[in-house]
Amino acid sequence: MMADSSRLCSVWLGSETGILKGVSLGRKQAFNFCNTRQLSRDQEVRALCWADPAQSELLLGSVDGTVRTFSTEKGAFTEARRCGEPAEGCFTGLAALSGSATVTCVECGTLRVWREDSSEPATQLHAGQNVCRMRQSPVHRHKVATGGKDNPLKIWDLQRPESPAFTAKNLRDDWLDLRRPHWVRDMAFIPDSDKVVTCTGYHQVHVFDPASPQRRPVLEVEYGEYPLTALSLPPGGQSVVVGNTHGQIAVLDLRKGAVRGCLKGLAGGVRALQCHSSQPVVASCGLDRFLRVHSLEDRKLLHKVYLKSRLNCVLLASREEAGQTAGEAGSQEVKEEEEDEVWDAMERVEEAPKRKTTTEEEEEEQEEEEVKKKSKKKKKKKEAFED
């Protein structure tokens, strides 16, 4: 039973009460996966990621330092592992490496690579103090980026853990010659290039390019007046979605550095954002205990689900939605083909205001009648066909 429901879920969320929630948007249902008798705040989920590219297992990092594995096929937690002390701080990043290794990063800055069998980290490196987030590059699995409060963006290559492959430089001093404060809250790797986008607690979005000789940000965009807490990249690669502590989510354009639009609806601070890997859809979750899914094209709210605890992280599965959209895309293609044939067959267009049937005979009859303004009629015809 649990296995069936876990296979349906397309969105996975971790909450502050330690419950892993799965939501199936197509069926509009939410499921809780947890041991109800053993709920405790210690198990607050802080980091969530896919354990493998096939997306059949999830890794959850909790406040008490354990990393649990959840299998979506079986619908249950398969293992738990102690990966650090709670005194070091909460998990700020979790990533999975090929060969069933896990990379974890905690707030005090210690980044560790754990192998499957041993309980000691295989590699350990120190990424500074107050790390807020660690992310793995989707293209080069051994590259990770870390950043935090007064801790500039550093890109590490796990095969050479002694020093970072790239350290960002702080912005130039401001007009009073004072050092600019620096607080990296979240980052993401832009897919087709080496660049990294970060969002800061001082409401700036920076783009860094390790390939270029300058270590300062290549692009800087400001949005709003509140710290930006979450960031996600939609599949196009030219824009970025950011959310701040006031619940404002905006889509920013990276080519020009301007705000394209805002997604409305959130009432509380945004904790996590995730764009779908193929569809123009973004899921957001936050402190107001709702999961919202917006469409990126028209910025409308598609789904809103009330999940009773504050949500910390969100993950989108790319497979279930694919099944649905394949069906829809197929039917749309069929419709377009019909329209093309019809247009080619017809020479003249005219009124057919309220007839909704689209048989060939009627079209021929209509063609024989008189012509009025073509454009208006074409529009009406199109409406008739789409009906």
């Binding site: 502050e16 009460t17 419950i19 809780n32 109800t36 709920l39 405790s40 705040r41 607690g201 509140y226 710290p227 807490t229 502590t245 006031h246 619940g247 409305k264 609806g265 009432a267 509380g268 601070g269 402190l287 107001d288 205990r289 009330y306 009773k308 605890s309 504050r310």
Partner: protein, 354 residues
């Protein structure tokens, strides 16, 4: 004369001719007195109302303000007349039927028509119960801490605000009023925590009148920011009783149904010490209606089993929640759990958040 021309033009499309009429009149009657023009207008309007209007016509399309107003008044009177007729008819039918009449319908109010809110707390929900049981107020609700409240104002308070703070301090037991003297709140908070305060209330003042309140639960608890309105101090209240005594009042929290409402309700409840043996017949009520929280302070006495007498003492004020922040007061870098966004949330009259 104009009057004779008018009926001819009326029969055809009414809209355009009406616009033309003032022009015709002004040509003819530039030298005439205004009264005559108005009479003409009135006569024209009376003649106009009898023939049927074209079906797509509405009163708002008349460009002349005076005429439009007149037509609108007529429309309203018509509607009212019809409504009264309907009512009379229904009443007659009701009396005619006598006992077999159907029961009276419940009138629609905004509270009745409230949009269904999915965040309304279900008492049996385990997850919400766990969430509430382990949130920042758990120490108070488990009886481990006693409330100790610090009341202060924004800088340089004027008369009303000072008196309001003093009266609040009599209402809330174990409350201390301190002058602000330009101190930064972020520095005040660690000092309060060191001295075991559990609450910090800051009354914000604007133009000699209190208009905002920041309520901060201290160890690391949520901070609520309210808009305060309708403050009535003790001497402005009619038929009030004597001053409140030192006993701790009971607390009544009305109508906090949603999850956010529950959080705010707990925030208010933790201001007062928990004592199931009620001593001193005083009660503080926080009543939530339509997202406004009304605070009243009464003294009650049971006259017999069924009747109670109450006397209002103490200040009364109204609060409206503007934001709820997760940590202690940090308006720039804190994370907000709920923020009032007027254009999104106040758009629907039947949707409420608390």
């Amino acid at each position: 004369m104009d009057i004779t021309e008018v009926p001819v033009s009326e029969d055809s499309k009414g809209k355009k001719k009406k616009n033309k009429k003032p022009k015709m009149k002004s040509k003819a009657g530039n030298g005439e007195a205004e009264k005559k023009q108005q009479e003409v207008v009135v006569v024209e309007n009376m003649e106009k109302s009898e023939p049927a209007f074209p079906p797509s016509f509405s009163v708002s399309e008349i460009k002349n303000k005076q005429r439009r107003h007149f037509m609108f008044m007529k429309l309203k009177q018509e509607k009212r007349k019809q409504k009264m007729q309907l009512k009379k008819k229904k009443k007659k039918e009701r009396e005619a039927l006598g006992d077999k009449a159907p029961p009276k319908e419940v009138p629609k109010t905004i509270e009745n028509q409230r949009v269904y809110d999915e965040t309304v707390v279900d008492p049996e929900d385990e997850e919400v119960a766990f969430d509430e049981g382990t949130d920042e107020f758990s120490a108070y609700f488990n009886g481990l801490t006693n409330p100790k409240v610090l009341i202060t104002t924004s800088d340089r308070p004027r008369g009303r605000t000072v008196r309001f703070c003093e009266q609040l301090a009599t209402v809330i037991p174990n409350a201390h009023v301190y002058y602000r003297r330009g101190l930064a709140l972020k520095r005040v908070i660690p000092q309060c925590i060191a001295r075991d305060f559990t609450y910090l209330i800051v009354i914000n003042e604007d133009r000699k009148v209190p208009n905002g309140m920041v309520l901060c639960h201290l160890p690391d608890g949520p901070t609520a920011h309210f808009k305060v309105s309708s403050v009535r101090l003790r001497k402005e209240m009619k038929r009030r009783g004597k001053d409140p005594t030192e006993h701790s009042p009971e607390v009544i929290l009305n109508n906090f149904t949603t999850r956010l409402g529950h959080s705010i309700g707990r925030l208010f409840a933790a201001l007062f010490p928990q004592d199931p043996q009620f001593v001193g017949r005083q009660v503080a009520t926080f009543h939530n209606q339509r997202d406004f929280i009304f605070f009243r302070f009464h003294r009650y006495i049971f006259k017999n089993e069924k009747r109670v007498g109450i006397q209002e003492l103490g200040p009364r004020f109204t609060l409206k929640l503007r934001s709820l922040q997760k940590g202690t007061f940090d308006s720039k870098f804190g994370e907000y759990e709920w923020v009032l966004k007027r254009h999104e949330m106040d758009a629907c009259r039947r949707k409420f958040q608390l």
